[in-house]
């Protein structure tokens, strides 16, 4: 069974990557996850300077879901390059660096800085994090702004640029076309949905950041539909993200049009989830009549339905 896949020029041994923000910089899961066995690792979002993030509590469990308001705490690009990147490079991991900024220039600055570093395979622009209060948030639902930041980053690096979309918009296809037209090499879909919970005992929002991002199996139908829509709207590859727990879930995203997937929240409950998925994938593909990952990509698209 051939489980190899590619996201544009980035070749992957299998389609399962760790999702940004849920896997730190790799060493945290040492002893539990062998990063070199994964399709790749998307690291926590990196800004030009350190960000402090939001007040705790920062997570709250919901039905089949998780709210988080980490607020993009990160050590900044210099500390990342000095302290975190070497581990991943040495492990031989396929590394996707998720980048964040408050302005177009900040995104480009991180991209430019990382362009000089070995061991990075792609950049992933997080233009969709619902937890930052600054101007950055508008990138997530304004096609013009999203295209402009994509173009700025493309101009600052030779690395492939993936743009990660927010589901908190009615026009995912328009967003996808805007970033594809601006030169994006791939689209990651989706980031978290905006949500919140109330702490009844304390009569206040459960999260320090008040609202947070909803992830986990609860959002899988929203993510599958995003991949479905985006993969038909543009010609660049799509990386599917949202609520994946099993190899069958991976197949659902592949059939919806994803070329690879990322697993986030599932790792918290089961650090071995990605390894288990990778192990089970050949059998699940075979069970549903596919002889490779490639054959499954887009298999449920219109015109390809078998019934």
């Amino acid at each position: 069974m051939d489980v190899r896949t590619a996201v544009g020029a980035v070749e992957l041994a299998n389609p399962v990557l760790a999702a940004s923000g849920t896997f730190g910089f790799g060493p945290e899961y040492d002893g539990l996850v062998e990063v070199r066995r994964l399709g790749g690792v998307a690291v926590k979002g990196i800004a030009p300077e350190p960000w402090r993030g939001n007040a705790p509590p920062r997570v709250w469990e919901t039905p089949s879901g998780l709210l988080n308001s980490i607020g993009l705490q990160n050590p900044g690009v210099e500390a990342f390059v000095a302290e975190d990147l070497p581990y991943l490079r040495q492990q031989g991991a396929t590394v996707v660096v998720n980048i964040i900024g408050r302005t177009r220039e900040e995104y480009a600055a991180v991209a430019r800085r990382l362009d000089r570093e070995a061991g990075i395979h792609a950049l992933e622009l997080n233009i969709s994090c619902p937890n930052i209060k600054e101007g950055g948030i508008q990138f997530g639902h304004d096609p013009g702004a999203a295209g402009a930041v994509t173009a700025a980053v493309k101009g600052a690096t030779r690395l492939p640029v993936w743009v990660k979309l927010s589901p908190n918009t009615h026009d995912l296809a328009g967003m996808a076309r805007a970033v594809a037209d601006a030169g994006a090499d791939a689209i990651s879909a989706i980031n978290t949905l905006v949500g919140m919970a109330i702490n009844l005992d304390e009569r206040r929002p459960a999260l320090g950041g008040v609202t947070g991002g909803l992830s986990g199996p609860a959002i899988r139908p929203v993510a599958v539909r995003a991949v479905w829509e985006v993969s038909q709207a543009v010609d660049i590859p799509v990386v599917g993200i949202g609520g994946i727990q099993t190899a069958a879930d991976v197949l659902e995203f592949l059939m919806a049009g994803a070329s690879a997937v990322m697993v986030g929240t599932a790792t918290f409950s089961q650090p071995g989830a990605m390894a288990a998925i990778i192990e089970a994938l050949p059998g699940v593909l075979a069970h549903y009549g596919f002889d490779s990952v490639a054959a499954a990509i887009g298999a449920a698209h219109p015109g390809r339905w078998t019934t």
């Binding site: 926590k44 993030g53 920062r58 918290f268 650090p271």
Partner: protein, 257 residues
């Protein structure tokens, strides 16, 4: 930090609403530091952090918890022979105390890790114990401390057992009585803040902290509490990875944060 699939050897109900599960885990028992915790699988999207309450000569480890929500309710239904999926040992426990007296202060479900500390250092150090709870039926492990030959001072908010009031009174007395020594505490954050303030800067004071967790291993940055960095500037401390046991000197309390 490896992952274990551990059989429940025994299930105890020390108080209504409290359950202690003893897990067969000789390898784990041999490496535990008091104050370290397990991140235990329960149904849903997150695991549940529970401190180790004890080790036993049979190579068992204990998890003692109060049933407060769906996760602990599910755990409370486990029976001997069932298996638990745990990540452990996680975090940093209490450091080996310097020679001299040790005060253990536990509040409510903060008591279990202090019992583990008493097991470890009760023979090597002069150990005093102060335990507090809302009421008698939330006060756990007093007899376990007595079985070690210790004489815990008990306080309850409603006076249903021991002194009426908080642990602060007996803690202040102990501090006044002892010139030096060191303090280890675990319990609700306001209790830890009170203990830290009473102890002040003069003596080592180690606090086992709680915060809502995601990964439990340092990856997600969920479980932060405000601390003072090396340069004195505020920084986030990850309870799961840098703690849960932290020096009171390193923490900024809500009012300072």
């Amino acid at each position: 930090m490896p992952q274990f699939d551990l059989p429940v050897a025994e299930r105890r109900v020390p108080q209504p609403e409290h359950v202690e599960l003893l897990l067969e885990a000789p390898a784990l028992a041999a490496t535990l530091t008091p104050g370290q915790f397990a991140h235990v699988w329960t149904p849903g999207t997150l695991r549940r952090p529970i401190s180790f309450s004890r080790t036993t000569p049979e190579g068992w480890v204990g998890l003692l918890f109060r049933v407060v929500g769906p996760g602990t309710a599910w755990l409370a239904e486990r029976r001997a022979g069932d298996r638990l999926d745990v990540l452990a040992p996680l975090g940093h426990g209490f450091p080996d105390p310097e020679p001299g007296p040790v005060l253990l202060v536990g509040g409510g479900v903060g008591i279990p890790p202090l019992f583990a500390a008493a097991q470890r250092w009760g023979k090597t150090h002069p150990v005093s114990v102060i335990l507090g709870a809302r009421s008698a039926d939330a006060l756990v492990m007093a007899d376990d401390f007595r079985a070690l030959g210790l004489h815990p001072i008990l306080t309850t908010d409603d006076g249903s057992v021991g002194e009426r009031g908080r642990v602060s009174g007996p803690v202040a007395q102990w501090l006044a009585r002892q010139g030096g020594g060191q303090v280890m505490a675990c319990g609700p954050t306001p209790m830890l803040a009170a203990v830290a303030q009473l102890v002040g800067g003069g003596r080592p004071c180690w606090l086992a902290y709680e915060q809502r967790m995601g990964c439990g291993v340092g990856a997600c940055l969920a479980c932060v509490v405000p601390g003072a960095g090396a340069d004195g500037r505020p920084e986030w401390i990850r309870v799961c990875h840098d703690g849960p046991v932290l020096s009171s000197q390193r923490l900024l309390w809500p009012q300072d944060a």
